[in-house]
Symmetry: C2
């Protein structure tokens, strides 16, 4: 089929037809839907060439703002509500299991592992906070082999990567292995509400939208264990004034907890505190990995259907 | 309105509502349509988190592939048919006027100006080609103050920027001012068919789509003049085997011309050619700038509606 002289109506099917020999049916479905929606968007608003040029420049600058400490495209996805939509699409029902929420742009690989009871914010100014969590399955049994990755903002609303003067040092973040009861405990500082970074293209978008960039205070948790769905979630601080207007639409009521404030005295880890401190208790409930289970079942079925023949020969 | 506990259905209207205080009505319309189509796409294909992560990485790499010599996002827009759609939306009827087509990713700013009759491909291997064009309005009158920016590929199918060893030198491109008759003539080499660059994310997309990356041979022209729509177009070489399957969907029948081949002899500029050469003749017809005219009309109307009162007082 010739694709000369395409017009605003025929261009879409011509682009879709061009991918007809793609090997992956899933790829064809995804790219087909993407092209249709992209074209429908342009037609619907009669996108001008100036707006298109701005869009090209916006996306280029978004990519160039990304490095190993900053992911502006994830921030864009977050602020456009796409990340929350994805979380909901991919983790529909949760029952007793802990709800998921967005990754956010500040997770870092190679975060150091700490021993239980450590202080992950040594020397950082802020209200002390003693965290005490459990990682269980829905029957209440400790999940074996779990890894708990935690990260959060400081008293000024910054993550470690935003402190240029820290030269990449990791603070307010750490990785833990639960004890045999599924418990993890550590000391840190109370996270505060903070603005998502507004010095890049996403800031431009928020400004044009007359939207504030604030996220309510929270602690990030990424919990992984063999045989369970990866759990990407936050625990929000109850009473934060931004809970109803999170810039990235990530708040779930089931993830909001009071971080109670205590008078000076003996902290949960036995430390004698001469100033007030906070505590956070949370029980994470992991969900068995459905897809992994399916694959394992398939593998097992395959083994059953082939092995016996061999042993029977 | 609280935006806690948004689900896959409520997230879209929550994101749209968040921009309700945006000052620009046009911005609200464009971002609203964009968010709806982005979300509808994700819901329609039930986008997985792995696919989303691939998308984030793809867009990041696309942005990072861009520099002053390469624009991978324009190439993405071109190969997804968005650029041709935009051209059609923004230049619907053309009548006698020359049709527009895509920019492509290889236009360069600060291209040097040449005198009429110059050779813009001095020392570059390829079949000599003498170009002779006119820039007129639809009444046939020469367009005053026009600038003609031309660029094209070489005999191996590369643009100057793709020759690493040329260190940024500009070849097969130049800017001209027409003479008082609206004529521009210059010498160059015959452009050839070529693949769009496939060493970046767009190459990945074409491969997954089982699409070839070839563009039929053409010369780019960008013609600007005060009071006229900017004309972004190509002249394609008739007979090229990729005319029916241009990787960027840019071919218009009205822009296809024979670049006739001539036996050795006296070239159009008087040069005695000892080997065969080609010629290209094309008459560009510019369209008056409608929007500029509208604005000018509005300004004039405003003057009329205020000035007389003053003069009557």
């Amino acid at each position: 089929m010739s694709t000369q002289d395409l017009n605003e109506d025929t261009i879409t099917s011509a682009v879709l037809a061009r991918a007809r020999r793609a090997k992956s049916a899933r790829f064809k479905k995804v790219i087909g839907s993407l092209v249709r929606h992209l074209h429908d968007f342009a037609r619907e608003v009669e996108l001008t060439e100036e707006e298109w040029a701005y869009g090209i420049d916006f996306l280029t600058r978004t990519g160039q703002k990304c490095d190993d400490k900053r992911q502006e495209f994830i921030l864009l996805s977050d602020t456009l509500g796409l990340s929350t939509l994805l979380t909901q699409l991919n983790h529909r029902s949760h029952g007793d299991e802990t709800e998921q929420t967005v990754w956010g742009p500040f997770h870092r690989l190679k975060t150091p592992r700490f021993r239980l009871g450590s202080n992950i914010s040594e020397g950082v100014r802020g209200a002390p906070c003693f965290v005490n969590i459990t990682v269980r399955d829905s029957a209440g049994k400790p999940v074996k082999g779990a890894t708990v990755d935690v990260w959060h903002s400081d008293d000024d609303g910054f993550y470690d990567v935003q402190h240029q003067e820290w030269n990449g040092a990791m603070r307010m973040r750490g990785v833990f292995k639960p004890d045999t009861d599924g418990r993890v405990w550590f000391r840190t500082i109370l996270p505060t509400a903070y603005p998502v970074p507004t010095d890049g293209p996403v800031g431009e978008l928020l400004k044009a939208s007359a939207r504030h960039p604030m996220r309510p205070a929270h602690m990030h948790f990424l919990i992984e264990a063999p045989g369970y769905d990866r759990l990407v979630t936050h625990v929000f601080n109850n009473g934060d004034k931004y809970l109803d207007s999170d810039a990235v639409f990530g708040v779930r009521k089931s993830l909001v907890r009071t971080y109670p404030k205590h008078k000076p005295g003996i902290a949960p880890d036995g430390t004698r505190m001469t100033k007030p401190y906070h505590t956070l208790d949370f029980d994470f409930v992991m969900r068995p990995a459905k897809r992994a289970t399916k694959r394992a079942t398939k593998r097992a079925a395959k083994k059953r259907s082939t092995k016996p023949r061999k042993s029977a020969s």
